[in-house]
Amino acid sequence: MEKKNLLDRWLDHSLSEEERTLLQDDERFRAFETITQAAQYFRSPELDASSSYDRLLNTIETKKKKTNWRKYAVNIAAVLVIGFLTYTTIFSSSNGNYSADFGEKIAINLPGDSQVLLNAKSNLMYSNENWSDERNVAMQGEAYFNVTEGAPFIVTSLFGSITTTGAKFNVSHHSKNYLAVACYEGTIEVAIGNMNYTLNKGEQLSLINSKLVREDIAAPNPTWINNKSYFKSTPLTFILDELARQYELELETESIDKSVIFTGSFTHQDLDTALQSITIPLKLSYTIDGTKVRLVNDDE
């Protein structure tokens, strides 16, 4: 009877740690614990409530006539857009040259409704000459492109180029040893040196330390646009580089092995949380001193 009661409360998440030890030898409890652990792998994918709410508002807006509370937002947005267009027309005569600094992200509207989001420490340039025949963009760093259907759109960077006639894709290339290209919608052609690869929706190509990997991805867009960097089986050194770009850090890492492979993510919104999500799984510890962050092994 006693056991049954404890088990009931354990299942209702209202058992204290102390009481829990009383159950430790119970065979049924241990089986339930194993089952609980196994069940974790079947967790529902996380609903990204904020982006999904934005999408909902869009659907409602296009479906129904605008309601009052949207109208205000639309008016303000219109003023901003006109202001922005005037600004770009006067000061840069429709050519663009953009740089995102440490921890910065920039949204850029290209001619013809295409958009680019530029991640921290990245640059993008375009000229709208002959835009209707060929859309040319040069970039360095990381950017997410949302390209509307139309003339060939060519992104040139140090590794080579990407060509599409309309797609959503992400390019990350901060160092010659790290290239990752992911396609989220449509089709893109990736030229690296004299090799060509075609990526369709949900496919990713990475070239890390000269190792080429092609794989499927499930996410509908890159996580960094929601202020979270995610890496899969990536050497730590490239993850730390990105951390430094997001938080403007000088990292001291002499005593740790930066070639270990890491899978995980870190937030762009809080340095401590970000550092913890990297250091804890790798058994490292950190100290912060202004913009300097020192990483050491736990046992040192």
Binding site: L11, A31, I35, F42, I60
Partner: protein, 171 residues
Amino acid sequence: MNKSLFKNVCDKVVFERLYAKHSKNLHNFLYYKYGEAINPEDKVQEAFVKLWEKCKDVSIEKAKSFLFTVANNKTLNALKHKKVVLKYNQKPVKSHTNETPEFLLEESEFMQRFKNALESLPEGQRIAFMMNRVEGKKHQEIADILGISRKAVEKRIYTALGKLREQIKEL
């Protein structure tokens, strides 16, 4: 009575609160009930769009059950009872691994068996079980979400645990 006399679902603030309160539960409910074959996020969207269109006719108190009913019906229409398939999320990759290949093989057999057992549970039991064991919800919370009694929730969880235990015992 309270504020709900003055505000209805057409109020943007109310609508947004309803979204914050119910979207995730609704999403996970659909996922655990029907698996990954349907796109639960789309169904959540459709249900909320419908709620917005009918915001004058649905009271705040009825909004939750309206959403769950609409989402469920939309899903049933989209899916003529396909077999439930849950996705086995990859374990986080370790930087180095000490397990022997035999161990890994046994483990993957275990997971496959567990997956089959989970998929073959009646949907009501699976939803209650996953919300409790994976989402960490208390029995009363689950009872509120599903609109059934707390006793019924407990029974579903126990039955599910019992069946899963039977299924994996032989390993």
